[in-house]
């Protein structure tokens, strides 16, 4: 236990280095003997390829190959820290089986072809289908991992050229509920706060978000804050005990789906005990109520339109009456005393309170409501639009914000929050795109789940899939995998960097450029758009997705939409026009090539840290305080929605007595196509396991690490059980990660979705477990 003098000095040096480097646990150390210049390595900056945190990295290239990546010490997001995935970015593009040549299906084999052959075939299939069945028979399925340019080009080609709204991203499966939450509460997408809130706040409510594994660097920022400020409290509302729970101050387990009731109970207590901010409500809030018993999207072509009615504060109070702590305690399993205590903590005037959430709220059959309900708590207490005090919707993918939400690559969307249903919006888009406004269809077609249902039925024939892996990630996967291979004119194109469970169902596979093999821009969860230059060439004949989309455009006679010499920059400058003056302002291209990202709206070169807040947001004039200036219809106020608790569509019963929840683990990103090819990451977490409670296991005669068979009404799977891992399931629940291409857990999931957002619920369905 005695420290040697040498060790003491070493540790002191470390402390001194900390002070020198900026006095935060996150800042990089300056080693005593700084490594001599690594001479022939050329360094550049890029945001990380993985999650919505958007850590800055430095990429080191030698002889045309990435030889190192490091956490970027100058990046404000992460200050030199990465998570383990980020630290192994140098390896993700060098798996042995990179796709290097276009491949065309001939029977059961994929045959190498030239780009010309592949694109000729693809164009002919598009033409044929459009001629025979109309423009709505073709579709593009893109990604929150698309660069801004790739998303913009896809949207422009399909909506402005081909004339179909069949454009959907995989972000429909992760952030759609967050978007509809923002749109219904604030009339504008994306958070009002930023990551600085993690440093400045002192109370953090996490809701169904395993930040320690899924937003690790943001979690580190929070833990760093708590280390420096012992009054900081982290409360983890969750349905399973994770590494996050372990480090939190308070783990609050609740029954799946009852988050809705808990949020209402918290609001109930805040009202009951008169803890709300009466003036803030008077100045900044209106109350509304929508339809109830709104269904679950289980039927093909399910449609829903809400009918909001304006109510008043008194009617809202009456609505909340049933959500007493006692009632909700019975429903949720959270003790009434705890509910009251945490409601008081939420409303504590001496505290700077933040809420953070990701998939627990979003991948939810009432995901929009869950988002509305968490905003309610912040709006009732006035704890919003203040530095260190905001609700923060965490984004999962690196550019679900920057590309899919901001560029608007959804069936109903156009850039800058605009929608195809609005003739003025179509007019504006047509003007910027230089097309006839009647080209853009006025009606949305399908959300992602409905798009693949349409493919299954044959209403869609041709689908191009870029930068995503739907035939591993869709819920109720068996139906959609089978649907893809039904023939009868169906034609699937998949652009990817590696063979995946989606390329294996493709008719044409296009080898693509990944990450720094192309120039790109991503937008992270705090509205920070970040740029990177191309730093290495893609392997073999792989080409970037932007070129691929423009090439199809040319072959379909829409080359005039892409008259660019420097496409990335010119696309950016064209796209910028949509958001200018709309509270979505973006800076000129050059600004991003040097900055470590900029948070929009960027006006006169200045970032906006806090939207809607005087002194921070240039759109709010002096004396206005807080103004939700995008919600003109409600006199620039935000909406508190009366949303009830409603049960999940499929709950455990006698035959399927367990809840199945799916999600991610630290080491693997999404469907594991990149991380699964990095030795260190694969070795650390090689395959999916079934997290289960020891009491349930004992009752079923299952021992730790034994094999079990898990069955739902839609599929079954064999997995090893883990009773004592990093995550600990609660009784009656199991958890399985979805990264494992050999264990397609999504076959068991139910493709029920939030009727408002269209986002499927990957967190709740009913399964049976037995010893294998």
């Amino acid at each position: 236990m005695e420290l040697s003098r040498r060790d003491f000095l070493k540790a002191s040096a470390a402390a001194a280095a900390f002070a020198a480097a900026g006095a935060s646990t996150m800042a990089s150390l300056r080693p005593k003997d700084a490594a001599a210049s690594e001479g022939d390595i050329r360094w550049g900056k890029a945001p990380c390829r993985f999650c919505g945190t958007g850590c800055g990295v430095l990429v080191g290239v030698r002889d045309g190959r990435i030889v190192a990546t490091k956490g970027d010490p100058q990046a404000p997001v992460n200050k030199g820290l990465n998570c383990v995935k980020g630290y192994f970015l140098s390896k993700i593009l060098y798996g042995k089986d990179r796709l290097t040549k276009p491949l065309i299906r001939k029977g059961n084999t994929m045959v190498e072809a030239s780009w010309d052959e592949a694109m000729t075939l693809i164009a002919s299939k598009f033409k044929e289908s459009i001629d025979k069945h109309g423009p709505d028979s073709v579709a593009m399925y893109g990604s929150g991992q698309w660069t801004v340019f790739e998303g913009y080009a896809a949207s422009k080609l399909f909506k402005g050229g081909i004339g179909t709204n069949n454009v959907e991203p995989n972000a429909r499966l992760c952030m759609a509920s967050s978007v509809t939450g923002f749109m219904t509460t604030f009339a504008s997408d994306e958070p009002m706060g930023c990551f600085d809130d993690l440093d400045l706040g002192d109370t953090f409510f996490l809701w169904g978000a395993n930040m320690a594994e899924c937003h690790p660097v943001l979690f580190s920022r929070m833990i760093d804050n708590r280390l420096r400020n012992p009054q900081v409290k982290i409360i983890d509302f969750a349905t399973r005990f994770t590494r996050t729970s372990q480090m939190a101050d308070h783990y609050v387990k609740f029954n799946p789906q009852t988050d809705l009731a808990l949020l209402n109970a918290i609001a109930h207590v805040i009202i009951r005990d008169k803890l709300y901010d009466e003036q803030f409500i008077k100045d900044h809030v209106v109350f509304k109520r929508g339809k109830e018993n709104i269904g679950y999207g289980l039927e093909d072509r399910f449609k829903f339109a809400d009918e909001p009615i304006l109510i008043d504060f008194d009617k809202y109070k009456t609505f909340l009456k049933p959500y007493t702590p006692e009632y909700v305690a019975k429903l949720s399993g959270v003790p009434a005393k705890t509910i009251v205590e945490l409601a008081h903590l939420y409303a504590d005037k001496s505290r700077k309170v933040n809420s953070l959430w990701t998939m627990g709220f979003n991948q939810h059959t009432r995901g929009t409501w869950a988002n509305n309900l968490v905003y309610n708590v912040h709006l009732l207490t006035g704890k919003i639009c203040k530095p260190g005090e905001n609700p923060l919707s965490l984004t999962g993918q690196p550019s679900a914000c920057g590309t899919t939400r901001e560029v608007g690559t959804f069936t109903h969307r156009l850039p800058a929050d605009m929608v195809v249903m609005n003739p003025e919006h179509r007019e504006k888009a047509a003007k910027i795109w230089g097309i006839d406004p009647n080209k853009i269809p006025a009606k949305p077609t399908y959300n992602a789940t409905e798009m693949f249902r349409a493919l299954d039925r044959g209403d869609i024939k041709v689908v191009w899939i870029q930068v995503t892996n739907p035939f591993q990630s869709l819920p109720n996967l068996n139906r959609y995998r089978k649907g893809a291979r039904k023939g009868d004119g169906r034609f699937i194109v998949v652009s990817d960097i590696y063979p995946t469970r989606s390329t294996e169902l493709a008719d044409v596979i296009l080898p693509s450029a990944g990450w720094v093999e192309k120039e790109g821009m991503f937008g992270n969860a705090e509205r920070r758009t970040q740029h990177w230059f191309k730093q290495v060439d893609p392997p073999g004949e792989a080409r970037n997705d932007l070129w691929q989309t423009m090439e199809l455009a040319r072959r379909l006679g829409h080359g005039n939409l892409f008259p660019y010499k420097y496409p990335e920059k010119e696309i950016w400058e064209e796209y910028r026009k949509f958001g200018e003056g709309q509270g979505k302002d973006l800076a000129p291209y050059e600004a991003y090539t040097t900055a470590r990202g900029l948070r929009w709206p960027v006006v006169n070169g200045n970032e906006t840290l806090y939207r809607y807040a005087e002194g921070y947001d240039p759109y709010v004039k002096a004396g206005e305080g807080v103004k939700f200036y995008k919600n003109k219809a409600d006199h620039y106020k935000a909406v508190v929605w009366a949303r009830p608790y409603e049960p999940a569509p499929e709950v455990p019963d006698k035959h399927y007595p367990f809840w199945l929840c799916t999600g991610r683990v630290l080491e693997h990103w999404h469907t594991g196509t990149m991380t699964g090819r990095v030795t260190e990451l694969k070795r650390a977490y090689p395959s999916a396991v079934c997290e289960m409670h020891p009491d349930d296991a004992r009752r079923l005669g299952i021992k730790d690490l034994q094999k079990v068979k898990i069955t739902s009404r839609r599929g079954s799977i064999f997995l090893q059980v883990n009773l004592n891992g990093r995550g600990k399931a609660e009784k009656g629940n199991i958890f399985v990660a979805f990264f494992d291409e050999g264990k397609l857990i999504n076959e068991l999931c139910l493709d029920a979705y939030c009727p408002i957002s269209g986002e499927p619920d990957y967190k709740k369905c009913a399964v049976n477990i037995e010893k294998a």
Partner: protein
């Protein structure tokens, strides 16, 4: 005792509030890279999958069992960066 003093010194330094200053336009990535951190070593011994700083620093904060000292003991979410590697060492001694 020395460990505690050490850690206290580190925490004292680290309590200096670090505000996220927007970096000036800076293209000297090489200088930044020189002291930036690269791949964290993987863990060569068995450990609890639910390990956190309290668990790890029992040895890596003190040198117990010949464990290499953490250069950044203020970071306590260890397994965010350090993951299981090839197991080449015996289990750490029981506490």
């Amino acid at each position: 005792m020395k460990v505690a003093v050490c850690l206290l010194a580190v925490i004292a330094y680290a309590s200096f509030f670090s505000s996220p200053v927007q970096a000036e336009a800076q293209e000297d990535y090489e200088s930044d890279a020189r002291y930036a951190e690269a791949q964290p070593p993987t863990i060569p011994h068995p450990f609890r999958d639910a390990a956190d700083g309290k668990y790890c620093l029992r040895c890596h904060g003190t040198g117990l069992n010949g464990a290499p000292l953490s250069p950044h003991p203020v970071r306590i979410t260890c397994t965010e960066c350090h993951v299981k590697g090839e197991i080449t060492l015996h289990s750490p001694a029981k506490k």
